[in-house]
Point group: C2
Chain length 243, copies 2
DNA sequence: CAGTGGTCTAGACCACGCG
DNA sequence: GCGTGGTCTAGACCACTGT
C-alpha cells in the first residue's frame, strides 16, 4: 500500500509530465492542495518534498511552489582531458565572481599543502541561468601563484568551461573527489534549494609538474539536476600495473 | 536564531564526536529523546534526519537509532587509469552476486546501444562490510560478450577493486556519470538507508576499441559516506585542443 | 506481547515576499 | 496587511522487531 505522500507525489508528477502543470507555473498553495487531496498540510508538504528531491518542483518561501522551468541538467565535465568546451552552448549563463584575500585554515591547508595562515586568493563564483542559480564555486589559489592578470579574469567553473588547465599549462595532475551531502544553510539559500536536498560537492585539487598544489576548488552543484561526467580513454597497448 | 531541530542535532552530534555516544550504540528511543529535549516527536525526528543525512546515525525500524559503526568512508576510484587496487585493504568485504539473463529495455538499450529486447546478462551485486550494506551494483553485458568463464567470476565493483578493465584489455573508453538522487524504495532497503537520504549513482559505460559498448554498470553508493575520486594525469608537453 | 520507529492529523505561530 | 511557506505541537494509529 503506497503511502499517502507518495500517491500525491505521483499524481502531481503525472500532471507535470503530462503538461497540465507547465514549467514555471505556480502550484496551488499548500493549504489548497492539502484540502484538495484531503490530507493535512504536513503530509502534503512531505509529498512536495519528494518532488523537490527529484528536481521537479522549486519552493520559494513566501511565494509558492513552482514547476521547475529548466529541466535541462547541469553537466560538469571532469578529468580535464583534452576536452572541447561544453558542447551545448551556455550563452545564457551569467557568472558573478567575488575575489577576496583569505588565509588558509583547517582543511584548506591540507588540500593545498600549505601552512596554516598562508595567504590565499579566494574566488567566490556563482553562476545563474536566467536568474536561476546554477552552481557555486569557491576556488583557492596560493597568493604567490595568482598574478594580477589571472585575478581579474572571469574564473573558470563548472558549466562555463574555459578550463583552468588551459590558463595554467604547468598543471600536471588533477584530483577530483565527488560526494553527496546536505548543503550548508548558506549554500541552500545561494542555490535556492531546500536545505534537505543533497548537493553534489566536488573537490578539485590541481597540482603542477613539481607536485605543488596550485589550486583547490570547492564546487557545489544542486543534486537534483547535476551530473558529473568523466571520460577516460585507454591506450590499448599500455600495460596495466597490477598492485 | 537556530531552529530547535538544529540545536538538538548539534547537541547529539557533539555527544557522538566526543565519544559519549559510542559507535554502534543505540540512542534512547525517540519518545525519550523528545521528552529530554522537551520537543514533540516530530521535531526530534527531524533532528535525527539531519544526523542521518550526515551519516552519523542509522535508523532501524522497530529497533532504534544507532550511532553509525563505520565512520570509514567508501571510496570509489573512477577513471580506470593505471591504478593500484584500493589502497586500504578491504579484507572484511563480502560480496553477493546474483546472475540472471534479461532483455534490454528502455534506457539500457540507449546505454549499451543495442536494440530493444537484446539478450543481456545481469550481475546484481551487493557488498557488505561486516553485515552492513556497503554498495550496490547492477552490471549489464551483452550476452554474446560474456563468456562462461567471466560469468562465474566474482564481479568487479566499487570497493572490491579487481578492475573490469584488467579482465577486458580490449576496453578503450570508459564514461562515468555521477549524480545524486533519492534511492528507489528497493535501493533504500537493500542499503538500509532512509529513503530520504540521497545516493551517489554512477553510470559506467565501457566501450572497446571499435566503439562497441561492452558493459554498462549502474552503481549505487550511500550518499552519506561515499566519495568518488578521479585522478587525471596530464602529459605536460601535450597540446591542448581548443574547440 | 511490548517497544520501537513510520505515517498522519488538525491545528498554532513565525518568517518571508509583495503590493 | 495579506498570503505564502517554515517550524512546531500533542497527540493518534500503523508497521516492524524482538521475546
Amino acid at each position: 500500500m503506497p503511502s499517502r505522500r507518495h500517491s500525491i507525489a505521483d499524481d502531481l508528477r503525472n500532471q507535470i509530465t503530462a503538461g497540465r502543470l507547465k514549467p514555471g507555473e505556480r502550484l496551488p498553495s499548500e493549504t489548497q492542495l492539502a484540502a484538495h487531496y484531503e490530507v493535512s498540510t504536513a503530509t502534503l508538504r512531505s509529498a512536495l518534498a519528494v518532488l523537490q528531491g527529484q528536481g521537479l518542483v522549486e519552493k520559494i518561501h513566501g511565494k509558492g511552489n513552482f514547476v521547475r522551468r529548466s529541466l535541462r541538467r547541469i553537466t560538469y565535465r571532469g578529468g580535464c582531458a583534452a576536452q572541447a568546451p561544453q558542447t551545448a552552448p551556455d550563452a545564457t549563463l551569467r557568472i558573478t565572481v567575488r575575489t577576496s584575500k583569505v588565509r588558509a585554515w583547517s582543511h584548506l591547508t591540507a588540500l593545498l599543502q600549505v601552512p596554516i595562515g598562508s595567504p590565499l586568493t579566494e574566488f567566490h563564483c556563482v553562476s545563474y541561468e536566467a536568474k536561476s542559480p546554477h552552481s557555486l564555486a569557491r576556488i583557492y589559489v596560493p597568493r604567490d601563484l595568482a598574478p594580477a592578470a589571472v585575478l581579474n579574469e572571469p574564473r573558470p567553473y563548472p558549466g562555463a568551461e574555459a578550463r583552468f588547465a588551459a590558463l595554467r599549462p604547468t598543471s600536471a595532475e588533477v584530483r577530483e573527489t565527488v560526494s553527496a551531502r546536505l548543503p550548508t544553510p548558506d549554500e541552500a539559500s545561494t542555490l535556492r534549494i531546500s536545505s534537505a536536498l543533497a548537493v553534489l560537492a566536488i573537490t578539485r585539487v590541481t597540482a603542477d609538474i613539481t607536485g605543488r598544489v596550485v589550486e583547490a576548488a570547492l564546487l557545489v552543484l544542486p543534486g537534483d539536476r547535476a551530473d558529473v561526467v568523466f571520460t577516460t580513454h585507454h591506450v590499448t597497448d599500455e600495460g596495466w600495473t597490477e598492485r
